[in-house]
């Protein structure tokens, strides 16, 4: 377990700010306690300071997880965001997509979002912007990347992809081992 180096912090924040923007500040400075990011076994964990100190007493081999895992750092220094970070991304998301009930299942099974399944989309979403995907009841389902800007979405035909799938809550069942 160790704190992140500067390059790792940069690549991590780059990725995260695609979805949350400057709200990362709210993650770092919280009124209810001091939280920090730690790297353990190539995964970045968001954990409260006192919990982190206690977790430091466990040997590296035996420590599996602490706090919330945001994602993993690859060997070349790139950061992959995982679904376990959704709890902290959903309230701070800058761009959102709402799915119709018919398309929810498709997305949760890992497929991309088509125009026919798109319920609402926030204004001013540019192309390839990070978006958080919700159901019509405002339940966060996962996140993805906008394939078309809001403007283009209006003129697109129903079979075109509107958002690329990145992670969804179905992964908790499908992809259990990879999530840690």
């Amino acid at each position: 377990m160790r704190p992140l180096t500067d390059e790792e912090t940069k690549s991590f924040f780059d990725k995260l700010s695609k979805y949350i923007g400057e709200n990362i500040k709210l993650l770092l400075e919280r009124p209810d306690g001091s939280y920090c990011f730690r790297l353990h076994r190539d995964r970045i964990f968001y954990v409260r300071e006192d919990l982190m100190k206690k977790a430091g007493n466990i040997s590296r081999k035996n420590l599996l997880s602490m706090g919330t895992c945001f994602g993993k750092m690859t060997k070349t220094g790139k950061f992959h965001l995982q679904i376990t970070a959704l709890d902290f991304m959903a309230p701070y998301a800058k761009h959102k997509i709402w799915l119709k009930p018919s398309a929810e299942q498709q997305f949760v099974y890992g497929h991309h979002v088509m125009k026919s399944g798109l319920g609402r989309i926030t204004e001013n979403t540019s192309q390839y912007e990070g978006v958080v995907v919700y159901s019509m009841n405002d339940l966060p389902l996962g996140f993805g990347v906008a394939a078309k800007s809001t403007q283009d979405c209006r003129h697109a035909d129903p079979m075109t992809l509107v958002a690329f799938h990145q992670a969804d809550i179905g992964e908790y069942i499908r992809n259990e081992e990879a999530l840690l």
Partner: protein, 337 residues
């Protein structure tokens, strides 16, 4: 009775007549080396026979020479092994040259000299050893070995210890490292003694067939071996940074100042935010384009209106729904008109 003998002899004679005679006449005696199964025939070849029927002549020559060789072989002592007659060949007389020189005898290592002196025999030990503590067979050396004192989970501090606060685990690891280093040094010294060269304090011993890894290390060393310890050695255009040099990575301490850490992270965050421009350039550009097109359209309409109907303005430009969207629509509208 006499007929029978006569008949047998006649049959034998018939059989014999099929084969050529084993008597061969040669002007010059051949040099026969039964050890190498070699016959050297120095008789001159008959030119006329060679011209007339070459293959037949050469074949008969070969047959004759082989016959002579076999004759000499039959004269050697024979024995019968598993219903086959076997002849033991003598030592070869003709020397055949070696491809490579005769290898030198290796110099004995220090231990081998001592063992020879004391008459100590080498006793082979098996790989697996019964470990009473874990009640299973474990390797005697190497990975997952039994009886490994660096893997002890609990070491008692002895009563007569000088300093009870010394880290016994670290001490054991250090001792192991020292033993390994000592072994390595002694191995290098043995090599140096056998090659009559000196052991380098730091660096590499010379090898005959350097591997890729060895060459990499040698290159890294050569770059550093200057008076300014490699500070001014130029790099080749396609040279990659060496794996064998470089500082060991140092990380921030885990329980360091959380305040300082969060401040540093906020600074990095600000950097990232500053890179993204606050003004949306595409939006601004689109709005500018839309304005241009609208003004152009208005001018054109005024001209047309002036020419045709004389003053009836045909409505204003597109309603402004929103800067971003209108920009795109305005652009499309402009093209149509």
């Amino acid at each position: 009775m006499a007929d029978l003998v006569e008949r047998v002899l006649k049959e034998a004679a018939e059989r014999e007549s099929h084969y050529k005679t084993i008597e061969v006449h040669k002007d010059i005696e051949l040099e026969i080396d039964p050890g190498n199964l070699l016959t050297v025939d120095t008789n001159p070849l008959d030119a006329t026979k060679l011209k007339k029927n070459r293959e037949e002549y050469l074949k008969s020559l070969a047959r004759d020479n082989t016959q002579l060789l076999i004759n000499t072989l039959w004269q050697l002592p024979t024995e019968k092994v598993d219903e086959a007659i076997v002849v033991k060949l003598p030592d070869p007389k003709t020397p055949i040259p070696r491809e490579k020189p005769v290898p030198k005898d290796k110099a004995l290592t220090k231990w081998q000299q001592y063992a020879q002196l004391k008459g100590i025999q080498k006793r082979k030990k098996s790989r697996m050893m019964w470990d009473d503590q874990s009640k299973e067979w474990k390797p005697r050396w190497g990975y997952k070995r039994g009886n490994d004192d660096t893997q002890e989970w609990c070491i008692e501090v002895p009563d007569n210890a000088e300093d009870p606060n010394v880290d016994l685990f670290a001490k054991k690891n250090k001792e192991k490292k020292e033993r390994v280093a000592k072994n390595e040094l002694q191995r290098l010294r043995n090599i140096a003694r056998s090659q009559k060269s000196k052991v380098p304090g730091v660096g590499l011993t010379p090898t005959e067939a350097p591997s890729k890894d060895y060459l990499g290390k040698a290159l890294a060393l050569a770059r550093k071996s200057t008076a300014s310890i490699g500070k001014f050695t130029d790099k080749l255009p396609t040279e990659k940074p060496s794996k064998h040099t470089g500082k060991k990575r140092k990380f921030e301490p885990n329980y360091g100042d959380v305040e300082r850490e969060s401040k540093k992270q906020l600074k990095i965050l600000n950097h990232i935010q500053n890179r993204i421009p606050i003004v949306n350039t595409t939006k601004a550009a689109n709005r500018h384009i839309m304005e241009e097109q609208r003004s152009r359209a208005r001018r054109r309409r005024e001209e047309d209106g002036g020419k045709q109907k004389g003053g009836k303005n045909k409505g204003g430009g597109g309603k402004k729904k929103g800067g971003f969207k209108a920009g795109k629509k305005g652009k499309a509208g402009g093209k149509k008109r």
